[in-house]
Amino acid sequence: MNTPSNLKYAKSDEWFDPATGTVGISDYAQNQLSDIVFVEILVEEGEEVTVGKAIASVESVKASSEIYAPAAGKVSAVNKGLSDKPETLNSDPYGEGWMIKIESGQAGEVMDASEYEKYCEGRSH
């Protein structure tokens, strides 16, 4: 399980980069979902989001999931190319697979990398 230590993680498996405001889903989440076949970003640039608001919808061959904002603030960028290559979420969840950026985002309840790893281990059984 890859959990970069500079990121913060929500219980619902989104990551948030406090330095850049970037948001995506964790490596654990993409692995649990298995092959992702569809992504739709539900928010637009300039929109205000609150913590817990659904910002994207992701479908894999196993399940479909909503992705929630781990931080509050104004959406300053959206990864528009993502819906054309949903597999990026599997191959590069922390890089090319980023979803949105939240300008000076105020994080909600988030964990650091080691807490999140423990949290994930506790869930696998």
Binding site: K62, A63, E87, H125
Partner: protein
């Protein structure tokens, strides 16, 4: 494309071939509708009758159905459908009637529908039933419309939230979303019940009601069902029951008696209609006294009382505050209602109770045999189904691999990856129609597969190897959608 062994019907087509030769017309020729309304080309395949029959016979041999073998698809109640249902639904009096016939000429059909309403009321403990909805999700939508209408008539317009447990079928939030209501997810506790504290916190005067499946998709009967109902009612909400799992309760518990206000039946599951690609659904809805006036219109009723000599006259009646018509005509009559009516009539009250008891016994037997080999996260006495994890410590085998391997043992796989609250979920519902030998063969196969997962995992990763086709590329199928084989002329995207 190497392993395509049967072309499509379109590929088999050859210009000029035909199934029948039409006789010369002996009626005056009528003119066609205006040219703009006609397609110049409708690519219907051209084949002889024998070629069509052989094509579909061949395809049918690739299939696996409940008439072939065990089909433990959790949440779907794939019970064996008795063949007498096929006889009754083809009786000429049912088969050759039209929904627009005058009611005096279809009294038998209406009597069957009336009695079906009465039977479903008795089975569920509700005050009224509509037979209209086409299937389960349509029944949910019908039920939620009635809940909304109830609050609206009382000018209680603050209510916009529906409480739905995290174990619910996905159709529940979808039905609620169709009405623009807000879904509030209620987590399950560690025993698979609704988390009472979380529910308490969510109950207020903005709640439309709660949609609850009981037993839920974990196969668990909620141990606090009376408290759950009370909490929702005390805040002014209505209780919706998802009847998908009614098979576990027949003749033992009536949702109406538990305090539910509305519930859909899945006749095709509980009362034996071929389904799952094999036939139509049917989703009647029952309601408590509070919602009786909101039922869809029309219902079947007695419009002229009978006496010792004359049968009553059955016809259509409209409830006072009806939400209106939910479907053209009167529900899936032959496909759903006649078959289910037959099934209920053949079993009678004691037989229905036996169904529930054997369904629960079979599920518990399988659970007991597989406990220890597979991890069962909510491990207590189950109802008609149970959920286990399709993964093993230190192995990369997943639920999907186990399911595919089961096909090599000639079993239909269980439901995969649902409910979402269990990792690598395998959801197993044996139904009452299976004997102990079948259950043992299935449990033996799953225990053997667990062993194979440790010693020869490639057998699982490459499964199935004995079927007509091997492992399908589900990812490619979902990513590269081909939804239409041809487009009408003048089509603009």
């Amino acid at each position: 494309m190497a392993n395509i062994v049967e072309p499509t019907i379109f590929e088999l087509s050859s210009p000029g071939r035909r199934g029948v030769t039409m006789p010369a017309s002996d009626v005056p020729e009528a003119s066609l509708p205006p040219k703009e309304l006609l397609r110049s080309e409708l690519p219907l395949p051209e084949l002889a009758e024998v070629d069509v029959v052989r094509h579909y016979m061949k395809l049918s041999k690739f299939n696996y159905s409940v008439d072939d073998g065990f089909y433990p698809l959790g949440s779907c109640t794939m019970k064996y459908n008795p063949k007498i249902n096929e006889d009754t639904c083809r009786l000429p009096g049912f088969l050759f009637t039209h929904p627009l016939q005058p009611i005096e000429t279809v009294q038998g059909n209406l009597a069957l529908m009336f009695e079906m309403q009465e039977w479903l009321k008795e089975i569920s403990g509700f005050a009224g039933v509509t037979l209209q909805p086409a299937a389960g999700a349509h029944g949910e939508f019908t039920g939620v419309l009635m809940m909304a209408a109830y609050h609206k008539l009382r000018s209680d317009t603050k209510r916009t939230k529906m409480l739905i447990p995290d174990a619910a079928h996905g159709t529940n939030p979808a039905s609620v979303g169709m009405l623009g209501m807000q879904v509030v997810t209620i987590p399950s506790d560690e025993r698979g019940n609704v988390d009472l504290e979380k529910l308490k916190a969510a109950c207020d005067d903005t709640v439309v009601g709660m949609m609850l499946t009981n037993p839920n998709t974990l196969g668990m009967f909620d141990e606090h069902i009376e408290e759950v109902v009370k909490l929702v009612k005390d805040c002014g909400g209505l209780m919706y029951g998802d009847g998908a799992n009614l098979n576990a309760l027949l003749g033992i518990v009536r949702p109406g008696d538990l305090g539910f206000d509305v519930m859909h039946f899945n006749l095709h599951k509980t009362f034996s209609v071929p389904h799952g690609g094999g036939g139509p659904g049917s989703g009647p809805v029952g309601v408590s006294q509070r919602l009786v006036d909101f039922l869809p219109s029309p219902l079947v009723g007695i419009v002229e009382e009978g006496d010792d000599e004359m049968a009553p006259l059955y016809g259509f009646v409209t409830p006072k505050n009806s939400i209106g018509r939910m479907k053209a005509f009167h529900g899936h009559f032959g496909g759903g209602l006649v078959r289910s009516y037959t099934y209920i009539a053949m079993h009678g009250p004691d037989g229905l109770k036996d169904i529930a008891q054997y369904a629960v016994l079979n599920a518990n037997y399988l659970q007991a045999r597989l406990r220890g080999t597979y991890h069962i996260p909510y491990d207590r006495i189950c109802m008609h189904e149970f959920v286990m994890e399709g993964q093993f410590e230190g192995s990369d085998v997943r639920a999907l691999d186990i399911s595919k391997r089961l096909m090599d043992y000639n079993f239909h796989p269980p439901t995969n990856y649902f409910p979402l609250i269990v990792h690598e979920a395998l959801m197993i519902e044996p139904t009452e129609t299976e004997n102990k030998d079948t259950l043992d063969r299935f449990a033996d196969a799953l225990i053997k597969i667990a062993e194979e997962a440790k010693t020869q995992p490639e057998l699982l990763h490459n499964a199935p190897s004995t079927t007509q086709f091997g492992r399908m590329d589900e990812v490619k199928a979902a990513r590269e959608l081909v939804l239409c084989c041809w487009l009408p002329e003048n089509y603009e995207a």
